[in-house]
Symmetry: C2
Subunit: 266 residues, 2 copies
DNA sequence: TGCAGTCTCCTTACGCCATAAAGTAATGTT
DNA sequence: AACATTACTTTATGGCGTAAGGAGACTGCA
């Protein structure tokens, strides 16, 4: 369930995202009417809490309202709609990402830190992976995070034209890798069936239903038995271990590719 | 809206996916009861038609039923539920992908073809990008496509351990890159606002709401003006052009990284 | 002090969604 | 001819986002 950005009045959305009047926790001067018991920030935080705990699929206006002891409709006082709420939640959590990376150990080490931070961040708030990238949210923290990545990449001294694409390459890869883990956890949580239980059940049936499997897909069968990730921690499920190794090895591959581009440009 | 796989009886799901009794179009021997006017294949094709035309968000049991002149509930005769229907749709379209790649020009050229085919395929059926990868569908065509990719990758003579990860690296990257285009089209179609209209509207507001933008994000602003993709075809929207260039350049970067791994292994 | 205007928050309602349950009618087998 | 089985329908349940309208709280002005 990719969730799309709020499509209402751009002026209203952007004013909320970049809301500066004192920032979080300040209440602007009041006019007539009852004093608001909530605030945009409180609503956004409640949304984040719901999404963190129950996932994006469980994020409903009713659920957020309930967490605040209010009805769903009460939220519309603070936020134009669900799309905009998600935008605000997204930009809010993005504040957790570093605004700067240490470049003294070189760009490669810095990029590794960036990828590692992004990985950890995405697992802390897995629902961010379901926010569509097509129409970016354009909030301050998204820009802040992008600026941090760019600062690292400028150290490669690659041309702007290449640099632009490297940004995409890195984010696509990291996003895809961490998404595997996030979705796997989501599936386990929402079905109550762990990967460890799910996989043997399916592959057992597979053997029944496709007895000629080994002849049809020899390379696949060969690969399945070889090259699995070593078991370093039994508490980490199989699929997550595999995904983590793919992340580490794959990141190395991508960084090697960037290095090749750097060498070629020199 | 990531859509998760059907979570019902694995035996039933797998039997449907690998259904062999005559394959498409054969009707099994009949018992008592009215003769079925539809079939699993017809339902799956209708689902694909709906998803291709209107997107995953518009894929409802009602919509598919309506296309077949039936109620939503009628579909449950053929398919256990929506999740399983999506699984079947997914594996069905995957049959469009080649089962083999020409390796005479080397693995690099073959991988480029693979990436290109995956790109085109994903834009033909953008909704496949919203099928969760966490609990794979495990249908015959998914395995067929994977086997084709593996055949190419075996030509690199990398160790199985590395090869496993390279599969993930490539798929993550291609998926991420094409997803940008798919979501951008989806956003344009569902809101009626093209990227060309959307972006200036937003960035205009951005300038109002964040007058200190250029000081806060100097690298970002710098990059925005430099290194844009050259305009080769005016009919292709800006964001798609950018995404396509990212795909091409990024693929080169990843392939360079694989080449580095190959060289190191030698 | 009183009242008008404004604002928060509620209830109700609409039209979607997946799917459970139960009913109707058609068909093959005995 | 009776019965079991099946395709398909109608109806209902409990979710969703949010439009519309109303109740009561509060400020600012007369």
């Amino acid at each position: 369930m990719v969730v799309f950005a709020g499509q209402g009045d751009p002026r209203r959305s952007m004013a909320l995202l970049w809301r500066t009047e004192g920032g979080r926790g300040t209440d602007a001067k009041r006019g007539p009417g009852p004093r608001p018991a909530l605030s945009v920030d409180v609503v956004v935080d409640a949304g984040i809490a719901v999404a963190d705990a129950e996932g994006m699929a469980a994020l409903s206006m009713r659920a957020v309202g309930e967490r605040l002891g209010r009805t769903a409709m009460a939220l519309y006082t603070y936020v134009p709609g669900k799309g905009e709420l998600v935008d605000l939640m997204y930009d809010q959590v993005l504040a957790e990402l570093p605004a700067d990376y240490d470049l003294t150990a070189g760009w490669r080490a810095a990029l590794t830190s960036w990828a590692e931070d992004t990985w950890a961040f995405s697992l802390r708030h897995p629902w961010v992976l379901q926010v569509s990238q097509a129409r970016p949210v354009l909030g301050p923290n998204e820009y802040r995070a992008m600026e941090a990545l760019l600062r690292v990449l400028y150290a490669t001294e690659l041309s702007p034209a290449v640099l632009r694409r490297v940004v995409g390459t890195l984010t696509h890869f990291v996003r895809g890798a961490v998404q595997t883990v996030a979705e796997s956890r989501l599936a386990a949580a929402s079905t109550g069936v762990s990967d460890e239980e799910w996989w043997p059940a399916r592959s057992g049936v597979l053997a029944e239903v496709a007895p000629d499997f080994a002849e049809r897909f020899p390379l696949l069968v060969g690969l399945e038995t070889e090259g699995a990730a070593p078991v370093t921690d039994d508490a980490v499920p199989y699929l997550e271990r595999e995904a983590r190794t793919t992340f580490e090895v794959g990141l190395g591959v991508v960084l090697d590719g960037i290095e090749a581009a750097v060498a070629r440009a020199r």
